[in-house]
């Protein structure tokens, strides 16, 4: 790939999705975009770069953005965030929202739906304690293609085996040949929507907890700061932010602060840390 073409793709991806592409990602770029080029009748990436530079073909530009997005996901990924949700986040939200009896969850960059569906299944498992509560699980991604898969709720044998306890498979999935489809009562708990985290997100509402795991790692520092600010703006003052275990806000944003001893779990910086830390004292995760 010519340096000039790489720069066109690099600049476009940064602008369209915040994704930072360094020169060592040329191979990734070629492997993801060659199929897009061929699909549109181009022989190589140089022609595709011309289209991107012109910036007039919205369909192809969207295809490029979608092709470069990373869709790594699994059910109950990493385990601990779900334990923290059940033992720390949810009880606190239920205390905060005892009057409204509403729980609002945002799974940002939800990929093919494993995270929001895992949360929905977890809520089902909690059961009677949540009777009378209205649960809204809002799940977004930048890719229409991956959202179609998420909405369909059908997963391969390989996908359902990564992290999903077998009892959950039996209870919440139906078998369809070699595929497994999530049951309607779980599916209906989640609403999916296309959303670019770099766009104006103020209209999406307010949430008690935002799952933004393994997303910031793809952004540069200014973009991370921008996204963290936007997420703060749509999070309740007593709400929570869940990041990936390897992600941090340190040196990036002063809007969020880590809950001591709980990697990846953040509260608004002016939150009541002392009270929550006391409540969490006996909880080992």
């Amino acid at each position: 790939m010519r340096d000039a073409d790489f720069e066109i793709f690099r600049d476009y991806m940064k602008k369209s999705s915040g994704l930072v592409l360094t020169p060592d990602k040329v191979y990734l770029l070629e492997s993801r975009l060659l199929p897009v080029a061929k699909e549109n009748g181009f022989s190589d990436l140089a022609d595709l770069a011309v289209i991107i530079k012109q910036g007039t073909d919205a369909k192809i530009m969207k295809q490029v953005t979608e092709a470069m997005a990373t869709h790594e996901s699994s059910f109950m990924r990493d385990g601990k965030p779900y334990e923290r949700f059940e033992k720390i986040i949810l009880p606190q939200i239920m205390e905060n929202n005892a009057a409204s009896k509403k729980i609002r969850i945002w799974s940002a960059a939800c990929s093919s739906g494993q995270e929001p569906y895992s949360l929905a299944m977890l809520m089902k498992e909690i059961g009677a304690k949540l009777d009378g509560w209205r649960i809204d699980i809002f799940a977004t991604d930048i890719s229409d293609h991956i959202l179609d898969k998420a909405r369909d709720g059908t997963f391969t044998q390989f996908e359902i085996q990564r992290g999903l306890p077998i009892q959950y498979l039996v209870k919440y999935f139906e078998q369809n040949g070699e595929q497994w489809r999530i049951k309607q009562d779980v599916k209906s708990m989640v609403r999916f929507q296309n959303l670019n985290l770099l766009s104006n997100i103020a209209h999406i509402g307010e949430f008690d907890v935002v799952f933004l795991r393994n997303v910031l790692i793809y952004f540069d520092v200014p973009t991370k700061a921008e996204v963290l600010q936007k997420v703060r703006d749509v999070t309740d003052d007593k709400g929570f932010l869940v990041l990936g275990g390897a992600e941090t806000v340190m040196g990036i944003s002063e809007k969020w602060k880590l809950l001591k001893g709980h990697n990846g779990l953040y509260l608004p910086a002016d939150g009541n840390f002392e009270a929550l830390e006391q409540k969490c004292a006996g909880i080992s995760i």
Binding site: Q157, Q161, R162, I166, L169, V170, E178
Partner: protein, 121 residues
């Protein structure tokens, strides 16, 4: 060191599984069928069992039912690892006392994730 009993009539599968469970830090014991596996358990109960379904002499499900009847036989975490992928078979395995279920083909990530779920990792 925790022990894992790998029960499969295929030498190739046992070899692959041995490599994975040893990489996960287990001492690996092997058995070719359910009868051999039961004999091993009567000598010393392993911490976990990775268990095939279809085997000669004694099948995986027959072995599991017998295992759960003997003294101390409730302690090993049993993870089926089989080509049987029907919901009815999964439910049968759970009813017999299986703790987890892997549908072949498997890889090290799947085994690790299932071992974590049953608490042996």
């Amino acid at each position: 060191m925790k022990t894992c009993l790998v029960v499969d009539d295929s030498r190739v599968v046992r070899r692959v599984a041995r490599q994975i469970v040893e990489d996960l830090g287990f001492e690996c014991i092997e058995a070719e069928d359910g009868k051999q596996a039961l004999e091993q358990c009567l000598i010393k109960m392993p911490d976990c069992v990775l268990l095939d379904w279809n085997m000669p002499v004694m099948t995986g499900i027959e072995y599991l039912r017998e295992l759960r009847k003997v003294e101390g036989g409730n302690s090993p975490m049993v993870v089926f690892c089989t080509t049987e992928n029907d919901m009815s078979k999964i439910m049968e395995a759970l009813a017999a006392g299986a703790n987890e279920y892997i549908m072949k083909p498997f890889d090290s990530d799947i085994i690790r994730s299932k071992f974590e779920q049953v608490g042996v990792l």
